[in-house]
């Protein structure tokens, strides 16, 4: 399969680094483009366009870091900050708009009430994605 447009949503976890490295490896084969997005979720008590400086700084730090990871892999990525009520629909929306071939999400294994859990975002993306989704779990 060819992957010319890969979307890598990041959340600021260790799994992002591994996901970016894998995305760079996949994209190099087909000279593809990598888009990285960080979604700032805005609670309903705020307007959607509310600018929260602390969240923006955090987003910038995370995206700066992920760009450095990509640079180490000798690949360039485009980064963007999205603001939405929920991350899942925002990621799907972005994937549709950019017509990506693959969504690559890094997840860190976690447990909720003693049970293995994928969280909220990954299941939503798996269910609604318009393209293949690759989940990379990091222990």
């Amino acid at each position: 399969m060819e992957y010319r447009n890969i979307l890598v949503p990041v959340a600021g976890t260790e799994a992002d680094d591994e996901a970016m490295k894998l995305a760079c490896w996949l994209a190099k084969k087909d000279r593809g483009k990598i888009w990285t997005v960080y979604v700032i979720t805005i609670k309903r008590a705020l307007p959607l366009e509310a600018e929260i400086d602390s969240e923006m700084h955090k987003a910038e730090e995370i995206l700066d870091h992920i760009e450095r990871v990509a640079e180490e892999e000798e690949y360039e990525v485009d980064t963007d900050v999205l603001q939405a009520r929920e991350a899942g629909p925002a990621i799907i929306d972005e994937a549709v708009e950019r017509k990506v071939d693959l969504i690559l999400i890094g997840i860190k294994q976690k447990k909720r009430f003693g049970q293995f859990s994928l969280g909220n975002v990954a299941p939503y993306v798996l269910k609604n994605a318009p393209c293949p989704v690759l989940l990379l779990q990091v222990k």
């Binding site: 705020l46 307007p47 366009e49 509310a50 000798e74 980064t79 900050v81 999205l82 603001q83 929306d93």
Partner: protein, 493 residues
Amino acid sequence: MQNSWHPKLGNRVFRPHRLKRFRLRRVLGIPALFSAGFGDVGSSIYYALGVVALVALGATPVALVLAGIIFIFNSLTYAEGGAMVPEAGGSATFARYGSNDLGGFMSGWALILSYIATIAISAYTIPPYLGYFWPALKDPVVGTAFSMGVIIVLMLINIIGIKQSTRLNLLFIIFVIITQLVLVILGAMLILVPNPQNLVQHIFGAGNWPSTASLIYGISIASLCFTGVETIAQLAEETRQPEKRIPRAYILLTIAVFSLFIGISVVALAAMTPQALGDPVNGWARDPVAGVAAHLPSPVLRAIFAPLVAVAAAGILFGATNAGVLGSSRLVFNLATQRQFPEVLSGIHRRFRTPYIAIVAFSLLAIVILIPGFFVTRFFADLGALYVFGSLLSFALAHASILSLRVKRPDAPRPFKLGWNITYKRHQLPLTAILGFLTTTIVWFTVIVTKPFSSGLAGFAWMIGGFIIYYFYRHRAHLPLTQAPSEKESFKL
């Protein structure tokens, strides 16, 4: 896109693709907009019908029709404004563009008053409906305490920022609409059609038709049924293609609300006298829709619909209370962003990332205005008058803003432009906005004159207090009081 470039140490890399701070993801469709709007407007019938009947007696359906026409004017104005200016401030934003920062602030401040009253009146109406399951809640003292508890719970939920499901909200609204629709149809078939003379007697019988003054006041109170139209405009920034979706959502809302409210009021008057419908102590003033269900002739139908109405009412009123909490906090944040209000109330909680100060402040204010509920049963009408003061003032300012924008910015893009225009000095002024402005202003004055304390005094005290805050804030910030958005400032389409 192969790249072997390595940045030199100390070089700063310029990233033009992140010049823009962020991009918004707008995901709301027409169903979500409609359900949000109906959740606010549609909840009104569960408390307003009784209040209207208390004043308008047998002319309640007439009062509702006339108030509904004003609602149509309001919806059309908001449709043009919301499509033109899809920002979170709603009519406060219309007023800011239509006049200046002061106009925007006064509109927003009036809206905040109506949101606080929404929180109080919606929460206050939940216990009578839930009294079907727990009769103790029908007691005014217990009920008022329960209402305050509901507000506190919602305050905490919104400080934490617990996620809400758009799909669940939509499904619930569909359930409420179906319940109301079936109730109207059954009421018409089983109560009205077999005995149409009851409806005639209850409307025109001795002592049932109100005086002219009461009818006019009844129309003003009936506008209580149709407030909440602001909700869709405030969500305009969260939908793609607002120029299409906002007007369509408003049209759907108008059809649904108008037909259901008129239907329920006619069925209610066919089932009971206006005195029974409007009695807050021994009648159904505080839970009028439950009264309709209780008058269904079949015991089986009563057993089915009484709990359904209780659940539907409690749910939609809970949602309306929540909408008031969210609406007020969002609006304050929007005003603070536009430097129309001190930023202190828009402070964000470090952990929960919610505007907790605004949420707490307005929730506590709503609790305070509920205190009379412990002592006075009829304060319900006063609460409604306060609500109407704030909402009608903001509606009047919205109409004025749309008219002003037709004059000041005639060439601005108007994706949904109202028709039926009057030409005045080469300006196209929509007739519905003119009529809307006149009627909402008249009704607003009527409420003030009829309820001088709870509406006039309290309402004006609120507005004056807000102006004082605005004045000192702008003075300290070295900003002019009446600064207008620059001509170059474009609407965010």
